[in-house]
C-alpha cells in the first residue's frame, strides 16, 4: 500500500482551490463540500481531480467517483492508497 501524506493533499487544496478557511484548520475527516465543511464547490472538485491526476498519476474518471472519493481528505487519502498503480507523490 502506497504512503500518502495528508499534508500533501492539504497542500494540493491550497494550491488549487479558493479556500474560505486556513489550511491548518482542515481536519482529515472534515467534509470538503457544503457549508459545514471546507466549503468547496463543483469547480473546485474538477480542479482537485486534475491536480490529483498530475501529482499522483491517478485519474478520477467521473463525477460519481469524485463524489465518493472527495468526501474528505481522509477518503481521498484512503482511495489513493488503494489504487494499484499509485506512484509515490511527486514533491
Amino acid at each position: 500500500m502506497r504512503q500518502i501524506d495528508i499534508n500533501d493533499l492539504k497542500q494540493l487544496l491550497v494550491e488549487n482551490c479558493m479556500l474560505k478557511i486556513k489550511a491548518d484548520e482542515i481536519g482529515d475527516e472534515m467534509p470538503l463540500f457544503g457549508p459545514e465543511g471546507v466549503g468547496l464547490d463543483s469547480i473546485d472538485a474538477l480542479q482537485i481531480t486534475l491536480a490529483v491526476e498530475k501529482k499522483f498519476g491517478i485519474p478520477i474518471k467521473d463525477p460519481a467517483t469524485a463524489r465518493q472519493v472527495l468526501q474528505s481528505l481522509g477518503t481521498l487519502r484512503d482511495w489513493l492508497r488503494r489504487q494499484p498503480d499509485a506512484p509515490t507523490a511527486k514533491s
Binding site: 464547490d41 463543483s42 469547480i43 472538485a45 474538477l46 480542479q47 481531480t49 486534475l50 467521473d62 463525477p63 469524485a66
Partner: protein, 141 residues
Amino acid sequence: MKQRLTPHGPGFSFIDSIEIVESGHLLRASKWLDPKSPFFGDHFPGNPMMPGVLLVECAAQAAGALWGSIQKQSKPKAFMLAKVQDFRFKQPVLPGQTLTIEVTLEKDFGALAQFNIELSVAGKPVAGGSVILSSSQATSP
C-alpha cells in the same frame, strides 16, 4: 445564410471558422478583427487594440465550439463560463489582424469541462490560459 458557429448573435460572435484538428480533443478557430468593430473606437481612442476580456471571450467561444462538437450537438449550444484562470496577454492584438485560437480539452467532467487555449496572430502567441465551462445554468453545479 451563413452557418452559425456559436450561439451568440452576430454582434457578439468571435469565431469566423472552426476546424476540428483532433476529434474530441483539439479545435482550431479563427477570427478576423474587423477594424469597424465598435469597441476599437473607444479602446483606445487613437490607439485601437483588442480588449483582453474579449480575447478571453474568443477563447471561451472556441472552447464552447469544441465541447459542443464532443457532445455532438446539432446546433451551437450556450455553455456558461464558470472560471477563467492563468490568462496571460503577451502582445497587443490590433484591428485587421486574424486571431488563431487553439483549444485543447483538459478534462470533461460531467456538467463541467476545463480547456486550455492558446491565441496567436500569424503564428506568434498573443495570449493564453484556461477556462472552465458549465453545461448547467448554475456555473458551479
